[in-house]
Amino acid sequence: MTSAVPGQPSKAVLAAAPWVFTIGFFLVWEIACRALAVSTFVLPPPSAIAKAMWEYRGPLAFHSAHTLWMTLAGFALAVVTGLLLGIALGASKLVHAGTYPLLVAFNAIPKVAVVPILVIWFGVGWAPAVLTAFLISFFPIVVNVATGLATIEPEVEDVMRALGASKMDIIAKVGVPRSLPYFFGSLKVAITLAYVGSVIAEYNASNYGIGNLMARASADFNVPLLFAALVALGVLGVIIYAAMAILERRTTGWAQRSNFAT
């Protein structure tokens, strides 16, 4: 509440910290590039990147929007599939035992290796991007939802069962609400993974998107544009992560009452 806790940073300092650190990071980068006279071809200084961002603002905005769209579509698929699979895994020991090794094996496959298959099936375009985003991001959702369900307190289950609650009742009234903090926690991981997936697919098999823009910039040895695209990716990544974090806070405030991380 108060800032007068000895040895603890005040609220204002904490609020300023992300900006100070970010700006400091770019300043150090700029100074290092200039002091060591690094070629823009190897590592462009932030000023050159900013110039490239301004110069290519049109294409960057267009391709970012496309990437965002692919990411969200794949992510939405992952949320639906992840929830359903997670509930199935959490509710049934048989499903869990039967499918878990498969899921883990599938998750371990680098998704960049799947992109060529998707291209053979669907051709170059939106499908590989959306599907890669989906394939790479549903696993953490499944695991987290299943964990939330599997860790229902036995006493709560007893209370429900003694009332005559069916398995579906227990899942709907206790299991799902209980796994929501896990679910929203996993969304933060999943959305960034989906993002990685769509960029990978765009890099390999698309005519649009930041990934595609980077593939072309790379072919042209346009290093400042390459870095400008990376910065755009980073900014977009922070935005979608923050959106998920806000959603999490809104929906599962009851689970975040600890003062641990003050």
Partner: protein, 261 residues
């Protein structure tokens, strides 16, 4: 009169094998009676609860509740545990309404008659001294208040059988005695049969009409004692010699069971 809850020669082992948790248990509790089961920890007291509510079925013997042999969760029971087990994402009031979302006929009536049920929940909260606390979340309440709310949840659907598994075990002595009185009054104001599992002998004698002593695992009934202290009982009764004698007697049974075990 046939007993409301009857276990006859019941033996039960979890998972169907291994050493039994309870063995050859026979108890019977009449309708409207307040029964207590006391014994050392790990003697299978909680198993008795699970058997009587149909959460577990015995390997041998018979469990009869309300004239029917138990073959499924009995649905006419309410339960409260040492841990209040309230759901943290629901307000206290919504926690109370949970059983009504499960048990018929309330389940299909709840949506249309919500006001009536909310009023019932509020009345119950008031009866246990939680007036106006319905809008708070359980984690905003103290341990004693949570336990009161948990009792309300166990009673909201007006069950015929109330099962209490060491409900006051985690509370301090003063709060515990307050809640003894709460549960005493709840029992007096409703025609509900109560089975209380506890290791607190004073608690058992203060509240119960009939006390069963259990031995250490495998749990067996080693003594049954009726308590004829007049009702309503005041906390003062716990300092009378009559009360203390009963506690001593029960204690002797349990001490004996421990030394011979």
């Amino acid at each position: 009169m046939s007993p409301f809850v009857a276990l006859a020669g019941v033996t039960h082992a979890y998972g169907g094998s291994g050493p039994p948790a309870v063995e050859g248990m026979t108890i019977s509790v009449n309708e409207g009676e307040f029964a207590a089961i006391v014994g050392p920890s790990g003697c299978g007291k909680s198993t008795v609860m699970k058997l009587a509510t149909g959460l577990q079925f015995p390997q041998a013997g018979k469990v009869v509740v309300a004239g029917k042999e138990v073959a499924a969760p009995v649905k006419i029971s309410g339960m409260a545990f040492q841990n209040p087990t309230l759901l943290p994402w629901r307000t206290t009031l919504d926690n109370l309404l949970l059983p009504l979302e499960i048990v018929q006929p309330h389940r299909s009536r709840l949506r249309r008659h919500r006001d009536e049920y909310v009023a019932r929940a509020q009345a119950l909260l008031e009866q246990v001294g939680l007036r106006g606390m319905g809008e708070k979340f359980p984690w905003q309440l103290s341990g004693g208040m949570q336990q009161r709310a948990s009792l309300c949840r166990a009673l909201i659907h007006e069950p015929q059988l109330l099962m209490l598994d060491e409900p006051f075990g985690a509370l301090d002595a003063f709060t515990r005695e307050e809640l003894w009185c709460v549960i005493r009054d709840l029992h007096a104001s409703r025609k509900v049969t109560v089975i209380l599992v506890t290791h607190d002998l004073r608690e058992a004698v203060f509240l119960a009409d009939r006390i069963f002593c259990m031995s250490a695992r495998p749990g067996r009934i080693i003594a049954e004692r009726e308590v004829h202290l007049p009702r309503p009982r005041d906390l003062e009764v716990t300092y009378t010699s009559q009360f203390i004698d009963i506690v001593h007697e029960l204690r002797a049974h349990i001490a004996h069971a421990r030394t011979t075990a």
